[in-house]
């Protein structure tokens, strides 16, 4: 039975603590932006990746709270029933909105009170790739009533439900301490940068807004506090809202910078994809052989390309195969390409026709077969999402290589092209420069322009903050208490990133800014 919490279980709790901060929740609030503010507080069901980050075979995503059953049903395709309690079941895990299959894995249903937290809980055991994890977490975030867990929240719920005995909990304080210590150091690191300055500035401005509204509420009847104070708050609040919304529109550049750009190598069998991976990571990470179909599964490796983190995946060559294992490999390859930030399409130069026109048609057809289906009207391939790598140029005579290079550059509608040889490293430097600039575009330059969001958790809190500021505007003229409540909620949300704000702090600003006396 599950609730026997032993040392091993305890380790799972530890992982929850360390990982939940990073839970992406990008969709969580976009689906809620238009709902009334009351929906924000109803988010009682929490989810988080409970296993470690980084490459691993299996990842465990844990869900706890009253909407767990709903989440399980709509993501595991169980419309009218739930699986038997505490029994692993192999299901396709689908996105509840888009309905596409995200992964196939084990689901386990733990009805209350027989779960780690004492609440209804679900565990998803999925494949450990970060794309799959991200997709599943995003899908969970789109289920109504769900939000990413706060650090330590699973453990806290378990504790409150009396699920953790005294011996098991031994050391919990030190653990959370370590956690907060790490958080503090991390926050410090982050907070000393531009991003920190930006959030601190917002927090400071919000505090002043709240202080001025509170001063108007608590003192204006007795004191000379002009109505102009509120007009200033109106301007500040709409400015802040606009700035936050702009900040949120960064297309996840910062998060990508933080968790790595997903770069996938794809192409036909024996084009030299694994060789490219090995060349890039400068070690034999993937098995290379002249036999077509050597790579069956995804081979992942983390790289640093000019200072940007890249998660490079080598995939099985795309071809129709009767081999079951290879077919699964091809399916995974296609899936990975769909989730990629950047795809490197590798072509054996021997397959490229020598005639320029034929070559262009061949390559366009090839790209279409490798890349996910585009909109029919969209003939051009997005330059920032794809690079064409023509490999094995060492097999071409020098003159032909030059000719091919010049010709391909003139073909309209092709993504950037690179001619390389993994064998002789010819053209590799140019390729790296091109790869670097693509990755840089995807991440955004952290040194220029506004700082970007680096954590999905920050995104969720900022979105709540923006929604709460809308409440200010909604009630500004009818009920100042409720309008102030909006600013207060906004400050609380922002405070989850920058630190707590207490009533005394607000009063200090009031007394600094106004001459208050009966």
């Amino acid at each position: 039975m599950f609730p026997r919490v032993g040392r091993g279980m305890w380790r799972a709790a530890v992982l929850t603590l360390t990982s939940s901060r990073r839970t992406p929740a990008c969709r969580l609030l976009t689906t809620r932006d238009c709902t009334p503010p009351s929906a924000l507080a109803d988010a009682e069901t929490i989810f988080s990746l409970s296993s470690g980050h980084g490459r691993c075979g299996v990842a465990v995503v844990r869900v706890s709270g009253p909407s767990s059953a709903t989440a399980l049903q709509c993501m595991a395709g169980l419309t009218h029933h739930l699986p038997p309690p505490r029994t692993a079941m192999l299901r396709s895990i689908t996105d509840p909105i888009g309905k596409e299959v995200l992964d196939r894995g084990l689901v386990i249903w733990f009805p209350a009170p027989h779960s780690f937290t004492g609440e209804d809980s679900v565990e998803f055991h999925i494949h450990g790739g970060s794309a799959v994890i991200t997709a599943v977490l995003q899908a969970l975030g789109s289920v109504p009533g769900m939000r990413p867990a706060e650090a330590g929240e699973f453990t806290r719920r378990a504790f409150q439900a009396g699920k953790l005995g005294l011996t098991e909990v031994e050391g919990l304080g030190d653990l959370i301490h370590a956690e907060t210590e790490a958080q503090r150091r991390q926050a410090l690191r982050q907070m000393s940068g531009d991003l920190g300055r930006l959030y601190q500035d917002w927090s400071h401005r919000l505090k002043r807004c709240l202080a001025h509204v509170e001063a108007f509420i608590d003192f204006s009847e007795d004191e000379l506090i002009e109505d102009g104070v509120l007009n200033q708050v109106d301007t500040s609040v709409s400015c802040l809202r606009a700035e936050m919304e702009q900040h949120l529109k960064d297309e996840r550049k910062g998060e990508r910078l933080r968790s790595g750009v997903q770069v996938v190598i794809a192409g036909a069998t024996n084009a030299g994809k694994s060789s490219l991976l090995n060349t890039l990571c400068q070690r034999p990470a993937a098995i290379v052989s002249p036999i077509a179909g050597t790579t069956r599964d995804i081979v992942e490796t983390a790289l640093d390309i000019g200072g940007f983190p890249v998660l490079l995946s080598d995939t099985a060559g795309l071809r129709d195969s009767s081999d079951l294992v290879e077919r699964e490999g091809v399916r995974r390859a296609r899936e990975r390409v769909e989730q990629a930030d950047l795809t490197l399409v590798v072509v054996d130069c021997a397959h490229v026709p020598t005639d320029a026109q034929q070559a262009a048609a061949f390559l366009q057809g090839h790209l279409r077969s490798v890349l996910p289906a585009q909109e029919p009207t969209d003939t051009a391939f997005p330059a920032d999402r794809c690079l064409l790598v023509v490999n094995k140029t060492d097999l071409l005579p020098e003159g032909e290589r030059q000719k091919l290079d010049t010709e391909l550059r003139q073909v309209p509608g092709l993504p950037p092209v690179c001619l390389i040889s993994c064998h002789t490293d010819e053209g590799l430097q140019d390729f790296l420069t091109l790869l670097h600039s693509s990755v840089k575009t995807l991440c955004g330059d952290p040194l220029s322009g506004g700082p970007t969001l680096t954590q999905a958790r920050h995104r969720a809190h900022l979105q709540q903050c923006v929604a709460a500021l809308a409440q200010y505007k909604m009630y500004r003229d009818t009920d100042l208490a409720l309008a102030a409540e909006g600013v207060r909620l906004a400050l609380t949300s922002l405070g989850r990133i920058t630190g707590r704000v207490g009533a005394e702090e607000i009063l200090d600003i009031i007394f600094k800014d106004f001459c208050i006396g009966k």
Partner: protein
């Protein structure tokens, strides 16, 4: 209905008889020292709960005196008055009896922050409080000065722990013993009065200073940490000497709103209300302040004064070159004086006159009594439990300014709560605490005992996190039912009324909820309400009431058969409907906090040697503050999440141990039940 007051003569007679009567008695359940706002509420509450109570005050005729401003309520403070009234305290009804100018402050800012306020007739307020106290069963009033607080020697098992046994009066041969003593000495604890360069001992002009013995006992014998605070009061001005045509008139509300949930009307008729006047300072005022600084001792002292009720001296020094508001407030129906709110000052009297004459409306004004400053000791309130009992001394309770607060309402609220708990302590019942999630009283007490004070503490609505749920309109629903059922400080009459109100509101809200129509139908029924044309859903009556321009009266006239019987609650229903979504949203957070507050931390923990992992810094904070619940501990500055978890573990551990012990001693609970029964029987046998 307003209570009919006994004639003044009769009540003084009864006073004399009570004093004689008392002489035979040397034993009480509860003794209250001080007859101010805290003391009167404390004595009345203890007696309501069933305790044989003695109120000791220096002068019986200053009981219920308004030492400073002649007003009650306001933003934040009005909420406290409503809550004290909801628990059957005195100040709300006294305000309705004595009020001569009623207004709801913040009328345009939303019902959660409305501030019921009234100017009071000082004479009527005192009369009401005195006659109310003297007709309270089980309450004896005694004129006298306390020489000494009697406490036991420290417990050998628990060093530093005492138990209060009673008091000894100045010139009193016999001690008067009691199980609980409540000190509500206001500004009298080592109080000194300041005017210009002269200083004299005392807590209020015209009254004798209190005995030094009391502060000696608190500091030296009980080892309580004290601090020093200051406050002040403005000169009183002769009304006839003021040129009111140069000030701006501010009339009262045309329909006075009573403080008390029991009153439908105020004693003062709407047309009888007196106006207030607004004027402001001139550069001349600032000049006089600067010129008189060297003659003004009070202003040089380092002690902390209230930031939000500063003297005119600190106002012009902190914000120079500005004009400051001065309100001229009536002191009573027959009074010849005006109270200049905003002109609290401590300079020599001749300069006070020069200063006020710099204000146009006061250019020929005469001063009746000059303003003065007061400095006094307060006991750092972190040494108290949420029941307002001194943690190290069983049976000793403190309330009011002695805890570092300012204001009548803050004092009254603490007095009531200390009175309830002092009586419970005398009956050996466990203490009760009000949560900050359910009342401003809870916010006040929690702020005091868990954070302490650095300046006189005043209530603001911004101190209450759950302000939108803790509204002045619903104080009865929040507290009266609990006050009767759990606390026992509420009369059956008030309880029945609160039950009627609750049931009616519930019925009305469910009637509104079931009244669901399409927006199209609503537009037909209520053409005056702007319901968006492109909205095409069904809307319930509750949702419809959330529209700005919709009122319950409109709905009731459209659906008279189902709604017209609730017309008396029109305003409350409108407020309930508008705040419903926000209160629902807050409820989850409130539940979380209550869960934490339900985990109490034993008061006898030795934090410095507790065998759990805590940093030295955290140990010291916990040792100093001794939070009574885990919730209070989490709100302390410098307490890490790790420390909270460790404490949680400790609490669980002790709870388990206690459960084991309880199993071995089952008679304990029965004993407590017996005491509760005895108390009920005792109350029932006495006239209400």
């Amino acid at each position: 209905m307003l209570k009919k007051k006994p004639p003044v003569l009769r009540h003084f007679l009864s006073l004399v008889s009570r004093r004689a009567n008392h002489l035979a008695r040397q034993q009480y359940d509860v003794i209250v020292v001080g007859g101010g706002h805290a003391g009167t509420e404390a004595a009345a509450a203890a007696a309501r709960v069933g305790a044989e109570t003695l109120l000791v005050t220096q002068k019986i005729n200053t009981i219920g005196a308004l030492s400073c401003n002649p007003s009650l309520g306001g933003v934040g403070k009005g909420q406290l008055v409503r809550e004290v009234d909801a628990l059957d305290g005195l100040c709300g009804q006294a305000g309705d009896w004595a009020g001569i100018h009623f207004s709801i402050l913040n009328r345009r800012k939303g019902p959660a922050v409305w501030g019921p306020r009234a100017q009071l007739d000082r004479q009527r307020y005192r009369e009401f409080i005195q006659s109310e106290l003297l007709s309270t069963p089980r309450l004896t009033v005694l004129e006298g000065s306390v020489e000494e607080l009697l406490v036991t020697e420290p417990d050998t098992a628990e060093p530093g722990h005492h138990r209060v046994t009673g008091i000894r009066l100045v010139n009193g041969s016999h001690p008067i013993s009691a199980s609980s003593v409540i000190l509500t000495t206001g500004t009298f604890l080592s109080g000194s009065l300041f005017m210009g360069q002269t200083t004299s001992p005392g807590g209020r002009i015209g009254d004798a200073p209190s005995s030094a013995g009391l502060s000696h006992t608190l500091r030296e014998r009980l080892g309580l940490r004290t601090g020093r605070l200051r406050t002040g009061t403005p000169p009183r001005i002769v009304k006839d000497s003021v040129d009111l045509s140069l000030a701006q008139i501010h009339p009262a509300d045309s329909h006075p709103t009573p403080f008390s949930f029991l009153n439908k009307h105020t004693r003062c008729k709407p047309e009888e209300q007196l106006p207030c006047y607004l004027t402001s300072t001139t550069p001349g005022v600032e000049r006089v302040v600067r010129e008189s600084l060297h003659l003004n001792h009070h202003i040089h002292e380092d002690t902390k004064g209230p930031r939000y009720c500063p003297s005119i001296e600190s106002r012009v020094l902190r914000f120079p070159g500005r004009s400051h508001q001065v309100w001229l407030e009536p002191e009573g129906v027959t009074s010849d004086l005006l109270y200049p709110q905003g002109l609290s000052m401590t300079m020599p009297p001749d300069l006070q006159l020069r200063l006020i004459r710099e204000i146009p409306a006061l250019h020929r004004a005469e001063i009746y009594t000059p303003g003065y400053g007061v400095q006094y000791d307060f006991v750092c309130p972190t040494q108290l439990s949420p029941a307002l009992q001194v943690k190290s001394t069983q049976g000793l309770f403190l309330a009011g300014q002695i805890n570092g607060t300012t204001g009548y309402e803050e004092a009254a609220a603490q007095g009531l709560w200390a009175g309830v708990n002092a009586a419970r302590c005398a009956f050996d019942l466990p203490p009760l605490a009000l949560s900050r999630t359910e009342s401003y009283i809870g916010v006040l007490v929690d702020d005091l005992v868990s954070r302490g004070v650095t300046e006189p503490y005043r209530m603001f609505t911004s101190r209450a996190e759950f302000r939108t749920s803790l509204r002045p309109d619903n104080a009865d629903l929040r507290l009266t039912l609990k006050g009767f059922e759990e606390v026992g400080c509420v009369s059956p009459l008030r309880y029945q009324e609160a039950v009627r109100v609750r049931d009616s509101l519930q019925d009305a809200l469910s009637a509104l909820q079931t009244l669901t129509l399409s927006t199209h139908k609503w537009r037909q029924k209520l053409p005056d309400v702007c319901i968006s044309e492109n909205k095409n859903t069904t809307v319930s009556g509750v949702e419809l009431l959330q529209y700005n321009d919709a009122s319950f009266e409109m709905l009731a006239s459209a659906f008279p058969e189902s709604l017209s019987s609730y017309l008396e609650f029109s305003q409350r229903l409108k407020i309930e409907a508008v705040y419903k979504p926000h209160c629902d949203m807050q409820r989850k957070e409130i539940e979380r906090i209550q869960k934490e507050e339900n985990m109490s931390l034993p008061q006898d923990i030795d934090y410095l040697s507790l065998p759990v992992s805590l940093s030295q810094e955290v140990r010291e904070i916990l040792d100093r503050v001794r939070p009574s619940t885990l919730g209070a501990a989490t709100r302390l500055q410098g307490i890490t999440p790790a420390a909270v978890v460790n404490l949680l573990r400790y609490v669980r551990n002790t709870e388990q141990k206690e459960r084991r012990t309880h199993r071995n001693q089952p008679h304990r609970k029965e004993e407590r039940e017996e005491r509760e029964e005895e108390l009920c029987a005792r109350k029932a046998s006495l006239p209400q």
